[in-house]
């Protein structure tokens, strides 16, 4: 049986998870689009825009985890 740790994710946590998710989806979508074009600009677009979204999404997710750990499970 699943163990329920929190009764409900706090609003702030949900918001951050959603924001991280949206950033990651945009980053991955840019990555997929960049594969359709063999050109230096496709590489640059992936590296500068796609990776920026991916990096921000991952950092936001990790920051969310750290902030939960700091403030406790009921935060």
């Amino acid at each position: 049986m699943e163990t329920v740790v929190n009764s409900q994710p706090p609003f702030k946590l949900s918001l951050r998870l959603r924001a991280a998710g949206v950033l990651l989806i945009v980053g991955l979508a840019i990555e997929i689009l960049s594969f359709f074009w063999i050109h230096p600009l496709a590489f640059m677009g992936f590296l500068v825009i796609g990776c920026a979204f991916l990096g921000l999404g991952i950092v936001l997710f990790l920051w969310t985890l750290v902030s939960i750990a700091k403030s406790g499970p009921s935060a």
Binding site: E2, I25, L28, A29, S34, H39, L47, C51
Partner: protein
Amino acid sequence: MTPLAILVMFLVVTIILIAVIVAMPGVTRTRSGKVLGFLALFLLPAIGGWAGFNEHMERSKTTRFCLSCHIMEPYGRSLYVDDKNWVPAWHFQNNRVPRNRACFTCHTDYTLYGDYKAKIRGFHHVWAQYVTGPKVPIHLYEPYNNRECLHCHGEARVFLENPIHAAQIDELRDNATSCLISGCHDTVHNVDHLSEVKFWKP
């Protein structure tokens, strides 16, 4: 199924998992939901990003990639010159370099970080192409290093047994005598003379 197709499928599955978290962040309440969140919001995107970077690095080594910029067009045409004295053309036409990686094979540094150094230079090329404008005629950053020739030829029997090479092998290895500009193999891309030559039609 090609590696690229597998990578795209992996990315699509990752996007779907992330979309589940975005649509229902409440799933992260349970332990398995937390594992799903960690996979979808950290591990899979990180793997996908790294795999995408590697895919782009490999693509950037292809001849098609290098010749996709207009300024490189004559250099691409020079690979089809029907004259064995044209060093790049002779290598390209006789598969001395892989045809789909012809540019990169000769224009990378065969050192530990040579590939990355070449790609960092590539960023400068993009900047020059779209922002500052390329300096025509384009030229190498530094004189062509014999190391790049000797990477393939250095231990070849036909190279070592050649009396001219054997007589100055140390100078060649030390880069004291250039393979290209010492007068022996000096016909390279010569893009200014393409109107005067015959072309090979494969």
